[in-house]
Subunit: 97 residues, 2 copies
């Protein structure tokens, strides 16, 4: 299994509407990309200081399926339209489990 | 459910032995901390450039159980003895799912 983990921080001037548009767009991806086996995402719960703002954890059967997701046009459109305009920083790891 | 996600980068002078000691120590935590429901971790798979070096994804039934894990003495010892000595940067999010 490949578990893709990515954390984002948003720019200071990102609006609540822009932030809310990210999960609204992401939740459409499992229906669009059948290679996704499990997909969890959301804003930081606010428990600890100094955290990033948003996380995505996506599971795939294998590396090929992850790459299909990574390069998928619908996924790339979400990144271009909703994530990049408010992205301050990004941290990612792919785990081979 | 609370899903705790944390990514690390290691210092340039971290040795292979020091890096290998992190998963070796983490794999003992589920037996020591029964609040852990699922625990996945490991080094970045090397698929993409610019990634962080290591990830942990830990699932808990609720916030209280996550806080028990966060503050657990055995967990804190792993952080102090194995993670902090080679830590360059850390990014974390807790998801409420």
């Amino acid at each position: 299994m490949i578990r893709h983990v990515v954390l984002f921080t948003w720019t200071d001037d990102a609006t609540d509407e822009q932030k809310a548009a990210v999960p609204a767009a992401l939740e459409k991806l499992p229906a669009a990309i059948p290679q996704i086996r499990a997909y969890t995402f959301g804003p930081d719960a606010g428990i600890n200081q100094g955290n990033h703002d948003f996380a995505v954890v996506a599971d795939f059967d294998n590396l090929d399926d992850y790459v299909i997701y990574r390069d998928d046009a619908v996924h790339q459109a979400v990144i271009a339209e909703h994530i990049k305009p408010i992205l301050a920083s990004r941290a990612a790891v792919q785990l081979s489990l």
